[in-house]
Symmetry: C2
């Protein structure tokens, strides 16, 4: 396969099992990408990541730009070398983080000015600049700069915003044409919570030649049902022959519903964030490890899991580490949760290949339905 | 070798290279024992500990008694099984922690009443009780209950205290006679900062048949020189054919000075505590990893070190993790520092075996002298 090639091996209704080729290896899809915000997937080393069987991780352009700095990363040989992760890395564009800094940012046609959350210093992201930053980081997949609008944003603002996002996407592609190097670039469809604007955005963005297309602007506070409906509406608007990425989503069942809708790639901070507050994912549902019922429970957290934590430790030990606020708790919990999410996507893939994805999905609806 | 046997393979002046046989394996001495306060060596899993080449770790009776509780540990199969550490474990008696709770404790002939630092609940440690707790924990080496007196304690109090420590030591040995099981028991010499009282305590304690003898009550705030002098005075008062353990000491050079004085075993929280505040130990001296000079330093932390952190990461990355307060920083820093201390004792052992311990010591005096 050439770099950027995406091939679909098998479909089960809209769900697809594919492979995306990147400069750091092939990514079997559907895939869950753990989030390594600022140069590490929180509390995990590359050895731990290997144990989770993660095939690709995500880095945050906004965070890495501020610290340690993209130029420093370039001088170090890029993020892969810096953090000693030899697998593929996708970087977001920083757009989502910047647009989360409400009040601390100023939007113009040219880009967005914002204040660092670390020390308040002023910075400016243009489409060209976030491409250059991602080149310095050396990620395998870059994302274009986009404007992510708030859940209750009005129609007119959202329409103008999606057009700005399109103009920025064009500028990003021009700043990194296909023949420039081995990094792939994905476009992002916006359009808020208006189906016709989603369609308009999808048409404009897919007119630009990207190696993959993402759905942005979901999971920003809307009701679950609305997110799922809009995702199901938008996914088929993206080219079937390219990878589709649902940004920042989500819970286990959301991921499976996304796969059912034809999405191939997912990322979310949920596994690591919840690990740190003691909420662990298992094949039988969520476990709040601090509960007294686990005090003397000698079973592994998830008997069906083969991660380092489940191979070695009891629920009683994991509970003890958590209630004693031992640092090892963060590592073991994060390792397990990331493994769960990575494995969920891998199991979905096998189910697609074997033509039983919908009974697989249905079994998780029973466990993780809300 | 039978369990409890200690054999000295080689001596270099007073420094000795030996082996102590425990129920969970042989411990080559001199040895540094990393501290696993409450069921984990802070931030490290058993896989990390294996990478540090730690041969024996220490558990704190006081902490484990309060949380998760020694009876719970016994029901889980003991601390080894609970934390999945198959090597030897030494447990202190809780005496030092209890005597650090100034004002929250009440001493009688029978034992000591104290308040938990977690929730203020009242508890009582007698010599017999700390033995029973350590039996429940299932450590390979138990320590007797002792009274650790403050640095500036007066002569008369210290004299009475060392006699109480002797009576408690006798009661501990009676509570766990040699034929009761595979756990070893070490006596502790006290006597404050009065050489004649140290001698008296050593005579009384070594009259009791323990498998090893410890020097307690040092590193409690006294000037460094006083600590070293008293250690050098006390060590030869302990039987040459038994292992000698200097409790809670210390910095790298203190450990080597201890070895020079004929001490075999050491423990200290310094490597893990300093790891968490960014102070790292290397073959060239201490490194404060947050310093700007390491920002773009691509070298490993210690080019002579073969720990996981030094095999994989640059100073620039370790600095970035530390200043970004990433949880992985604690793990990598702790792993390295523990490896440094464990390896320091192992290197001292090789130097003794090869008859060059004093030139080895002298090279560290140049690097770590104060």
């Amino acid at each position: 396969m050439r770099i950027g090639e995406f091939s679909i091996l098998k479909s089960d209704d809209r769900a697809r099992a594919g492979v995306l080729k990147t400069a750091h290896g092939e990514v079997p899809t559907p895939v869950f990408m753990p989030v390594g915000t600022v140069g590490s997937v929180k509390s995990l080393g590359p050895d731990d990541l290997q144990d989770t069987k993660a095939g690709i991780i995500l880095g945050n352009t906004y965070h890495l730009y501020l610290r340690p700095g993209d130029e420093l990363l370039k001088r170090r040989g890029g993020l892969h070398e810096f953090m000693r992760w030899n697998g593929p890395i996708l970087t977001d564009s920083g757009g989502f983080q910047v647009f989360s800094l409400a009040g601390l940012r100023k939007l113009t046609e040219d880009g967005v000015e914002f204040a660092s959350h670390i020390n308040g210093s002023r910075h400016f992201f243009s489409p060209e600049k976030v491409v250059r930053i991602q080149e310095n980081i050396g990620s395998d997949i870059m994302m274009v700069l986009d404007e992510c609008v708030a859940y209750e944003q009005d129609y007119e603002y959202t329409r103008k915003s999606l057009e700005l996002t399109t103009r920025w996407a064009t500028r990003c592609r021009e700043a990194y044409p296909r023949d420039r190097g081995d990094q792939l670039m994905f476009g992002i469809v916006q359009g808020g919570f208006y189906p016709d604007l989603r369609r308009e955005s999808a048409e404009q963005i897919t007119d630009i030649d990207f190696e993959g297309y993402a759905i942005g602007g979901l999971s920003v506070g809307e009701p679950k049902q609305e997110m799922l409906e809009l995702m199901r509406y938008t996914a088929p608007l993206l080219p079937a022959e390219k990878p589709r990425y649902l940004m920042g989503v989500g819970k286990p069942l959301d991921i499976l519903e996304g796969i059912a809708a034809g999405i191939d790639m997912f990322d979310c901070v949920l596994p690591t964030r919840n690990a740190r507050n003691g909420t662990l994912y298992t094949s039988r549902g969520k476990v709040n490890i601090k509960r007294a019922e686990y005090r003397e429970d000698d079973r592994p957290l998830d008997p069906e899991c083969d991660c380092y934590a489940c191979r070695n430790f009891s629920r009683a030990y994991l509970r003890h580490l958590y209630v004693s606020r031992e640092l090892l708790s963060y590592r073991l919990n994060s390792l397990h949760n990331v493994h769960f999410f990575v494995n969920l996507a891998a199991k979905a893939r096998r189910a697609i290949v074997e033509g039983r994805f919908f009974s697989f999905l249905s079994s998780y609806r029973d466990i993780y339905g809300e």
